[in-house]
């Protein structure tokens, strides 16, 4: 077996906190120990990575996920050799190209052509080699005549494309990608992905940092989840991504609960503080919505992160101030930007009000919430049949729908669906793997 392309064990990286009164100690430590943080107390350093161990086999593609500040970029920089680890072992076998910060050495005053040579030299390419690949580099960057212009006239997209192009043409064995694809246009991103696929097909190794889970899922064999500088998960891509999304949703749910609790506390003691708060709730006051909740799962537990397709119930506690003969309960689900996703009320459902006196608890139950993953807000209302509001609460609830691996699509709505294929001619031959099917046990539709 060939040695792993990247092997790390017990990797730690500490940064000193931004310049304080300890410059002399830092210099002393740098001189004596070759480390900036040696002479500093724990309060003066930030630990970006703690005890990170992993191996990436040659030819493997590994995605690194995690929130901002979780140490992803630091890890990539260590592997790239841009930063030395504070402690731990790290070995990298093979030529490395880091698509991290592109365009090293680009000088704004001089032309793209000349900058290709400077950048290439910094990345370790000989002048001859750059000359050989020059046409490929320019073509891949897709800059056309602009290559002769000083790069200060380039758009940021052109700049990144040129940098990416030079870096990818260094024929790396280990390719490190850190969210650089975000800048290019759709066409360029496709070209990059094709290039990355080519790299993998040619037996190259890939380490990619991205917040785009679909990208990680698509190209990676395994994923690593970093949280606060530690490895929280390492293994099959789907599993690690699900665990990560689950934890994000749980955290958001908690934050939401806290917000709600503090809001409720405020409402009890003080009047609405600002105009926006007031506009978020209006009505004649003939009835009042005392509370609104989202219940999720079969056990109907109050929760604000739900899976796609999970059972939910919107619950309202309503108390009329006087006996009402005209009343409608309504619920509307919207995106945070205000796009209506779904709304209904008891009038639309055909209920005819007769009379209401005393508090009630109303529940709108959906056995399967068919909303695509994302953030949603909920308006709740009690009003008259002609639309006059007794109490209208905008964005009374907020919840997150997380992806489930079996139900994935884009958009807002996720109906039950499946794909079917029929052959239309005798010569038709279609061959593919259905989801969940392994390469070994492929069946042919004939």
């Amino acid at each position: 077996m060939s040695p792993p392309a990247v092997a790390a064990s017990g990797l730690c990286k500490r940064y000193r906190r931004a310049a304080g009164g300890y410059r002399l100690r830092t210099l002393k430590s740098a001189l004596l120990e070759g480390s900036l943080t040696g002479g500093l107390a724990s309060g003066e350093v930030v630990e970006a990575l703690t005890d990170v161990s992993f191996e990436v086999a040659a030819g493997e593609a590994v995605g690194i996920i995690g929130g901002n500040g979780s140490g992803k970029s630091t890890l990539i920089k260590l592997v790239a050799g841009l930063l030395p680890p504070t402690s731990g072992e790290l070995s990298v076998n093979g030529r490395v190209a880091a698509l991290i910060e592109l365009g090293a050495g680009f000088h704004p005053e001089i032309s793209g052509r000349e900058n290709i040579f400077i950048n290439g030299a910094l990345l370790g390419l000989s002048r001859r080699r750059i000359e050989q690949r020059y046409d490929d580099i320019v073509e891949f960057a897709g800059l056309g005549d602009f290559i002769e212009e000083p790069i200060k006239y380039y758009s940021s997209g052109m700049y990144v494309r040129l940098g990416f192009s030079v870096a990818i043409h260094t024929d790396p064995e280990v390719l490190l990608v850190d969210e650089v694809l975000a800048v290019g246009d759709e066409e360029f991103v496709h070209r990059c992905l094709a290039r990355i696929e080519e790299h993998l097909a040619g037996g190259g190794t890939l380490l990619v940092v991205s917040h785009t889970m679909t990208l990680i899922d698509e190209i990676c064999d395994r994923a690593m989840w970093l949280d606060g500088g530690r490895v929280r998960g390492l293994g099959s891509t789907r599993r690690v991504i699900d665990a990560y999304l689950e934890s994000v949703a749980a955290r958001e749910g908690e934050a939401h609960d806290r917000r709600r609790q503090s809001e409720e506390g405020e409402h009890a003691t003080t009047a609405p503080a600002d105009a926006a708060e007031e506009v978020a709730r209006w009505g004649s006051g003939q009835a009042e919505i005392l509370a609104a909740r989202l219940l999720a799962g079969d056990e109907r537990q109050e929760r604000y992160h739900v899976h796609c397709g999970e059972a939910v119930a919107f619950e309202l506690d309503v108390e009329p101030r006087e006996e009402l003969s005209d009343f409608v309960f309504g619920v509307g689900v919207k995106t945070p930007r205000g796009v209506d996703c779904w709304g209904t009320n008891t009038d639309l459902a055909g209920y005819e009000p007769r009379s209401l006196a005393g508090p009630v608890r109303v529940r709108l139950v959906c056995p399967e919430l068919r909303l695509a993953p994302g953030e949603y807000t909920v308006d709740v209302a009690v009003h008259a049949r002609d639309g006059r509001a007794y109490d209208y609460r905008r964005r009374a609830l907020r919840f997150t729908v997380t992806e489930s691996t079996s139900l994935r699509s884009i958009g807002l709505y996720l109906p039950d669906h499946e794909w079917q294929v029929e052959t239309l001619a005798a010569r038709t031959d279609i061959d593919w793997l259905s989801p969940g099917q392994q390469a070994g046990d492929q069946r042919r539709i004939e």
């Binding site: 740098a30 001189l31 090293a104 030299a121 002048r127």
Partner: protein, 270 residues
């Protein structure tokens, strides 16, 4: 220490093509967008020379202090190398801090950056050398007994001087990463070093007690050696060569040592 100085030299030789690429980038970029372009390499020192000749050769002219004639030609032989030394040190000092982006983006020996500053300015100096040549020939044609075959030894002095300047640039650049104050300090020290070197006057014109102070300036031996070779047409005394070699060696050892101790932490501290 010894290993560091050899390593540094070896790295620079190994990465000479990168070094050259970056020097060319520096030279190309500097005058890009200016009408006169590379001519500024000639014009800059020429204009400075004109200012100094006017101020020291005419306004402040006192024959009891500066007896040397023709003053302009004398000035050029000391001033031009000085411009190279001072700009190299100033740019070398900030070469790491100014290229922080580069250091964070690419994996390459950062040693080349101070070397690029020194080399780029050396190129400017070499481009301006014809002016020195013209001045010497003109002085000769006017009947002054200046220069001679000794001028061919100039490369030897410049080579030793290069080692000194590079060593200082390495030390200054690494220190400047930790303390930006170094740059301001250096600016002032260079002014002092300029006036305490026999560039606008000759050593023999000074009262002995001042001459002693001036002798302490490391730039003094390099300046007098250059003036001997180019202007006075005589060989520098043996002990001047020895002093120059010693200064260059000390500066290289110190610069290489300091730089190699700090190089691991530069990418982060920059």
């Amino acid at each position: 220490m010894l290993a560091a100085m050899v390593d540094l030299a070896r790295t620079l030789v190994r990465y000479r093509s990168l070094l050259w690429t970056l020097v060319m980038r520096e030279l190309r970029a500097r005058y890009r967008g200016s009408v006169l372009g590379f001519l500024w390499s000639l014009l800059n020192p020429l204009l400075l020379l004109a200012v100094y000749s006017f101020v020291f050769g005419m306004i402040l002219k006192r024959s009891d202090l500066v007896a040397v004639e023709p003053y302009g030609v004398f000035l050029v032989t000391g001033l031009f190398p000085w411009i190279w030394v001072s700009t190299s040190l100033l740019e070398g000092c900030t070469s790491l801090t100014a290229n922080g982006g580069l250091i964070r983006k690419a994996v390459f020996p950062v040693e080349v950056l101070p070397a690029v500053a020194v080399a780029a300015n050396l190129v400017h100096f070499l481009l301006a050398l014809p002016i020195v040549g013209v001045a010497l020939v003109a002085g000769r044609l006017l009947g002054y007994p200046i220069s001679g075959w000794t001028a061919v030894l100039l490369p030897a002095v410049l080579a030793i001087e290069l080692v000194m300047v590079a060593g200082l640039a390495f030390a200054l650049s690494a220190l400047c990463v930790h303390f930006k104050d170094v740059r301001d300090l250096l600016g002032n020290l260079l002014v002092l070093a300029f006036f305490l070197a026999p560039i606008i006057y000759t050593l023999s014109d000074l009262p002995p007690r001042f001459a002693k102070v001036v002798q302490l300036n490391p730039m003094t031996s390099f300046t007098t050696a250059t003036q001997d070779l180019l202007f006075f047409g005589r060989l520098p005394e043996l002990h001047v060569w020895a002093i120059m070699a010693a200064i260059a060696a000390v500066s290289w050892v110190a610069g290489a040592g300091l730089f190699s101790r700090l190089s691991d932490t530069l990418a982060e501290a920059v």
